[in-house]
Structures are given as structure tokens and as C-alpha cells.
């Protein structure tokens, strides 16, 4: 059986627009093969109209998506399938395009493709997923809950879409609690109540001001945080490397509670 040579040159005049879902992306892959073309960009539904050239709308078709989804573990490998699913959650710039290029080469070389250490796409996706999993791991520790009438609530602002990774962790840890984790960068929330959890879209969430007991534990925690440092060993650079500043504004130990009277004025109570 002879194969058509793979297309290496992208069509600089071509942009795909899809609905932003994983299934939608899989349909872009389908289209790329069906039309025998490689777009120069793949954009989501909210992308501004920057291209001077034509935008090709890619409709999401369940059957096409399912065909592509089935093909990845069988024609490349299970590991490639996992990599692609995780890569879709990362903040890698132009991730759809990198993923498409990855898949086109993957179909060509099969299971061994993932061990091509020097390959640009394998490397970029692996690094992006490493960043995603690392951020998810960090947040398992850096998240600070407030007890709001028995519900544990918090807001996070991660670069990657980490909520799907936090769900099983907190379900394992706090099986009897009610939990809400709001991701203000991706406008989504993880909600958990005993023995079930879901990641849902959410436009906005503001926690109520802390009650007296909540204030007490917050200040106990700040006391501990400050007391535990060995001052002759102070090392700002080391702390910054391990706990980057962008996490600080969500963390109890680096924030102050306004005095109770102020809170009442602010919320109009």
C-alpha cells in the first residue's frame, strides 16, 4: 500500500475556528486529513478576527470526533492518547496547532513516536504537560480553604486548567466535606459534596467575609508561618523559586484580613 507523502508545508492563508471543546479539536484533526491541508492557526470561538484571510469554521460532529478519538490509542499509543488529553488542558500557546502536528506525525510513525527525544512537537507537548501536572501538584498544597457555614470555599488563579486533577485529590482527603474551588482564570469551579464531584462553568464567585472563628484560625496560621522561619537562614530567592509570587494573593499567610467593621461597610451589611 502506498501512502501519500505527509504535508509538511502549512497553508499560511488558512485558519480553523472550532468551538473550544476537545471534541471540536478532534474534528479539526479530521478536517485536516479530509481536506489534505495543514492550517496556519487553529482558534477558539472567542478569538478576535486577526486573520486577513479566510477562516474556516469547523463544526463539531460527534461521530467524526469519536473516530479520531478511537484512532489515537490504537494507531499511536495509549500514552499518546493521555498526552493529547492532558495537553488540551495546558496553557501552551497555539496548543491546538502543536497537537495537530503531533498527531499527524504520530499516525505516521506509530507507537515509537513518543520516544523521539529530539522531536519538536513531542518535546513541546511533554514540557507543557509537565507544567500542568506540576501546577496541579503545587495547588494541592497551596490552596487555602475558608470555612463558610460549613462549606470549604476558595479561589485560585492557575495558568493551566487544573481542576480535573484537584477533584480526586480532595475527594480522597475530605470525603465528608462540601467543597467549592473557583478558578477565576478559566471561569470554572470544582464542586464536591459527599461522594460526588463535578467541574462546572461559573462566571463569578465571591466568598463572604470571614466570621470570627475563621479569623481566629487564619491568624493562628499566620502566627505559625512567621514563627517557623529560622531567621539567620532567611533566603528570599529560594522561597520565590519554590513558591512563586503569583500564588501569594490567594494564600492566607500572605494576606491580611480587613478589620470586621471595614468588611461590613464594604459589603453594605
Amino acid at each position: 500500500m502506498s501512502r501519500r507523502p505527509d504535508i509538511n508545508h502549512m497553508d499560511s492563508a488558512l485558519t480553523y475556528r472550532y468551538d473550544g471543546s476537545f471534541e471540536g479539536f478532534l474534528c479539526c484533526v479530521f478536517e485536516s486529513y479530509a481536506a489534505h491541508e495543514l492550517p496556519a492557526a487553529i482558534v477558539g470561538p472567542d478569538a478576535p478576527e486577526l486573520s486577513l484571510f479566510g477562516i474556516k469554521e469547523i463544526p463539531t460532529d460527534e461521530e467524526r470526533a469519536a473516530r479520531v478519538a478511537r484512532s489515537i490509542p490504537t494507531r499511536i499509543s495509549r500514552a499518546a492518547d493521555e498526552l493529547i488529553r492532558h495537553a488540551f488542558l495546558t496553557c501552551l500557546p497555539e496548543k491546538e496547532l502543536v497537537m495537530l502536528r503531533f498527531l499527524r506525525q504520530g499516525y505516521r510513525y506509530g507507537a515509537r513516536f513518543l520516544s523521539f527525544a529530539g522531536n519538536e512537537e513531542v518535546w513541546r507537548l511533554t514540557e507543557a504537560v509537565k507544567h500542568l501536572l506540576h501546577e496541579a501538584h503545587l495547588l494541592k498544597g497551596f490552596i487555602r480553604f475558608s470555612d463558610q457555614k460549613g462549606v470549604l470555599v476558595t479561589t485560585i488563579g492557575p495558568k493551566n486548567f487544573v481542576l480535573p486533577f484537584l477533584a480526586p485529590h480532595f475527594a480522597k482527603r475530605f470525603p465528608e466535606e462540601h467543597i467549592l474551588i473557583y478558578d477565576e482564570k478559566h471561569h470554572a469551579a470544582l464542586v464536591y459534596r459527599p461522594y460526588e464531584s463535578a467541574v462546572i462553568p461559573m462566571d463569578d464567585f465571591r466568598a463572604a467575609p470571614p466570621d470570627e472563628e475563621e479569623r481566629k484560625f487564619r491568624s493562628l496560621w499566620r502566627t505559625f508561618y512567621n514563627a517557623v522561619e529560622i531567621c539567620p537562614r532567611h533566603n528570599e530567592k529560594c522561597r520565590m523559586t519554590l513558591l512563586p509570587k503569583r500564588y501569594w494573593k490567594y494564600m492566607t499567610e500572605f494576606t491580611k484580613d480587613a478589620p470586621p467593621e471595614m468588611e461590613r461597610i464594604e459589603t453594605g451589611a
Binding site: A117, L220, T223, H234, K237, T241, L242
Partner: protein, 441 residues
């Protein structure tokens, strides 16, 4: 005294314990309970000194009847004393844990009255957590030297990790600086804990539901820089502890002078942080890279190179073994190449099966090209020509900070000795002392 004040005093008193790891146990909360543990451990914050905060590290009490010269809590120090009631501490742990401030509890205690009495109070705290709150988060407990074997056993059934601090690297220093503690009192519980872990491992084979005894193993800590032992001495002791007591970790704590004493460095002395760093680097080489403690030293040297990673230093002394062909070298040798770590060595062995590796691929695999280029060839190609002269190579292998340190500290010395000045070898007495410290009792 309110909880806030107690927390301030008792966390301040506990902070000189280096260990804060929450690794080695994998658990899920039972229905109705709270708390889980990840084998890799989870850091919840980092203090201003850059150390990880994973566990609520506190003492049950800092009222201590012992008078160890190096310790802030010694009897003769005029510090404020406080004690947590077991229930008070357990409630604090749960309130912190629910808010995800912490991964668990690291509980130690001053010797209040007798070692047995202090241990019993700690046991009560852990019992409330485990039995009343059904808490299955991580608990690291300190076994107090001199406590009854049955109590240590009970502690081990409640905690995930146990540790006994070896405190000082030799029996003589111990006698001089911690007169109330003896080598036997420290190594006794250590052997006891190891026995408990071994026995538990056998029980678990027979009975799946046998209660777990310290499932995350045991660790220890020694203070570096309060007494005169050499790096070589410390690392030989470390490697004996890893093999003889199968410890999970040995921690080194750069001595922070907190007390005025004739036998100790003066209070203004800065903590020997670089030395501590070198010891940790060497420790990793012992545990993950297949090095033995003897290999890290050349002939009669007693200390690690002050300006160079011990792995680089070893490679410089074995220039004849390099360069290695990265596409053929066995895993064990790849591990010895500066700039190649455990993960990248593994990735190399996997990736080279698919295609011959080039320098570009090696960079993507994650090796540190800056160091590895002196010791590897890829597909017969060197990264660059002209291997540097020995002195240049030495400077090139240092990090910018190490180089700056090296230049300032050796500026006045005309004749630069390549590998630092020599310190005397172990005296026969020191050798004997070492072998008996590491010997089973």
C-alpha cells in the same frame, strides 16, 4: 495562656528540626473520616528561609529537664515555657487540616519529667486524632531517647514516620554537648523501630489487616558545625545508618548558635549553610546514584570540596573514564556524569532505543549541557572542541554563585590548590569512634 501564645512558643521551639517531609505513605480517608497522604509528599507553603512547610511542626511541651548545650529548650535557658493539652492540639490540627494549611502533624516534645511521661502525652494527642477524629493524614512523631520500648511501639502504631535524632555525629560530642543523652539511648529506640518495621512487614504478608507500624519508615537528624567532625566522618556514619538501620532519610541541620557555651561556636557565627548543602548533595549521591561514601573523598581528604558539587569533583578526579559515548554507556555510568540526573539517565536509555541521540535531543531530554559537555560524546561528536585546561574546567563546572564565592575566598591565596587544601585523615581514634557509633548494640 491562650492557644495563640502557645503556638508561637512551641513552633518557635520546634523549628530547628530540619525534617518536614510528608512522603512515604499512601492513604485515603475512610468514610466518615478525614485525611489522606501522597507517597510523594505535598508542600503547603515555604517559609522565609525557603524551607518547605508541610506539617504543623510543634512541640507538645518545651519544658525540658535535659540540658543539651546546643538546644534552645535546655533547662538552664531562661525562655518561656508552654505545653499543649492533647485535646487542644488535636483540635488545632484538624482546624488547620480542613483549611488545607497543612499535610499533617510533626510532633516532638521536650522531656517533661521523664521520657516515658513525655511520650505518653504525645501518644494521647495522636490517639485523639486517630481514634476520635478518624484522622488519616500524615503524622511524624519523635521518639524520645530513653522511653520505654512498649511506648515507642504504641507511638509507631499511631504515626506514619518515627524519628530519633542522632543529634551529633559522634559519641564524644554527644557526651560533651548533650550529657543527658547517650549513644545507647539514641541507637536503642532506632533499632527498636527498625525491628518493629521489619516485624510489621512480615505480619502484613500473613495478615492483610495487621496494624501498620510507622509505614513511612524512620529518619534522623544530626547537627553540623557544632562539633568538630569531618565531612568524611559524617558521611560514613550516614551510610552506616542507611544500611544498618535502613533509614529513609538522614537530615543535616546547619548549627544556628542559639546558646552561649565554651564548647560551642560563638553566637555570631553564621550557620554553615554551604557545608550543609554539600552534605545533602553527597547524601543524594549515596542514595540514588550508587556512590559509596569512600568514593567521594580522595585519599586523605576529610572534607568535601567547598566550591564544587561532589559529583563534579569525583568526575574531575576520574577524567580517564570520560568522555562516555551517550548512545552506548550503561545506565550506572550515565548516572556518574555531571549534569545527568536519575530521570535524564533513565530517559536516555529509553530514547536511544528509538534513534541515536544527538546533542539537540540530549538538551530536550533535560540534561545540563553546560556540565555534561565535558564528559559526553553524542554519536562520536563532542559538544565543542578543545577541552579546557584543568583550572578552567574547574571554574566552568561551578555555578555563578560558587565561582563568586571561590574568587572572593581564595583571592589572597597566590598558589591556588586545585582541590582545596587538604585536611588531615581520620585518626585511628576517630575511626574507632566511628565504627562503634555505627555498630549494632
Amino acid at each position: 495562656m491562650d492557644t495563640m501564645e502557645k503556638l508561637r512558643i512551641l513552633s518557635d521551639a520546634a523549628k530547628y528540626d530540619a525534617a518536614c517531609t510528608s512522603s512515604g505513605a499512601q492513604k485515603t480517608a475512610k468514610r466518615g473520616g478525614i485525611g489522606s497522604a501522597e507517597a510523594c509528599g505535598i508542600c503547603h507553603s515555604f517559609a522565609g528561609d525557603g524551607r518547605c512547610i508541610s506539617l504543623l511542626k510543634v512541640l507538645q511541651s518545651n519544658a525540658c529537664v535535659y540540658d543539651c548545650a546546643y538546644c534552645v529548650n535546655r533547662r538552664s535557658n531562661d525562655t518561656r515555657r508552654a505545653s499543649f493539652a492533647p485535646r487542644e492540639l488535636a483540635e488545632l490540627v484538624i482546624a488547620f487540616y480542613r483549611r488545607n494549611y497543612i499535610e499533617g502533624l510533626f510532633l516532638s516534645s521536650g522531656v517533661v519529667g521523664t521520657p516515658d511521661a513525655a511520650t505518653e502525652t504525645m501518644i494521647e494527642t495522636l490517639r485523639i486524632l486517630r481514634e476520635e477524629y478518624h484522622f488519616s493524614g500524615y503524622i511524624h512523631a519523635k521518639a524520645i531517647p530513653g522511653a520505654d520500648a512498649a511506648l515507642v511501639r504504641r507511638l509507631g502504631l499511631l504515626a506514619d514516620r518515627l524519628s530519633v535524632n542522632i543529634e551529633l555525629p559522634s559519641g564524644q560530642s554527644l557526651q560533651r554537648l548533650a550529657p543527658d543523652k547517650t549513644k545507647a539511648a539514641i541507637l536503642g529506640p532506632m533499632g527498636l523501630i527498625q525491628g518493629g518495621i521489619d516485624e510489621n512487614r512480615r505480619d502484613l504478608v500473613l495478615f492483610r489487616h495487621a496494624p501498620r507500624f510507622a509505614p513511612a519508615g524512620q529518619s534522623t537528624q544530626m547537627i553540623v558545625g557544632a562539633s568538630g567532625e569531618s565531612d568524611r566522618h559524617i558521611l560514613m556514619l550516614t551510610s552506616a545508618l542507611y544500611t544498618r538501620y535502613r533509614l529513609k532519610r538522614v537530615f543535616y541541620s546547619a548549627y544556628v548558635p542559639v546558646n552561649e557555651a565554651a564548647a560551642l561556636p560563638p553566637v555570631e557565627t553564621p550557620p554553615p549553610l554551604w557545608r550543609e548543602h554539600r552534605l545533602y548533595q553527597a547524601d543524594w549521591l549515596l542514595r540514588f546514584y550508587g556512590f559509596s561514601s569512600e568514593e567521594l573523598f580522595d585519599g586523605t581528604e576529610g572534607r568535601l570540596h567547598p566550591y564544587l558539587d561532589p559529583k563534579c569533583h569525583w568526575a574531575l578526579r576520574h577524567k580517564d573514564m570520560f568522555p562516555l559515548e551517550v548512545n552506548r554507556a550503561p545506565y550506572e555510568l550515565l548516572l556518574r556524569v555531571p549534569g545527568v540526573g536519575v530521570k535524564s539517565a533513565w530517559r536516555i536509555t529509553r530514547a536511544r532505543r528509538a534513534a541515536a541521540l544527538t546533542w539537540d535531543a540530549l538538551a530536550k531530554i533535560g540534561i545540563v549541557t553546560k556540565r555534561a559537555r565535558h564528559f559526553l560524546v553524542a554519536n562520536g561528536k563532542r559538544y565543542y572542541d578543545a577541552p579546557a585546561a584543568k583550572e578552567e574546567l574547574l571554574l566552568d563546572l561551578m555555578s555563578p554563585r560558587e565561582r563568586a564565592l571561590f574568587r572572593t575566598e581564595t583571592a589572597s591565596v597566590r598558589q591556588l590548590s586545585l582541590f582545596g587544601e587538604e585536611t588531615p585523615a581520620l585518626s585511628p581514634a576517630e575511626r574507632k569512634e566511628l565504627s562503634c557509633l555505627a555498630a549494632p548494640i
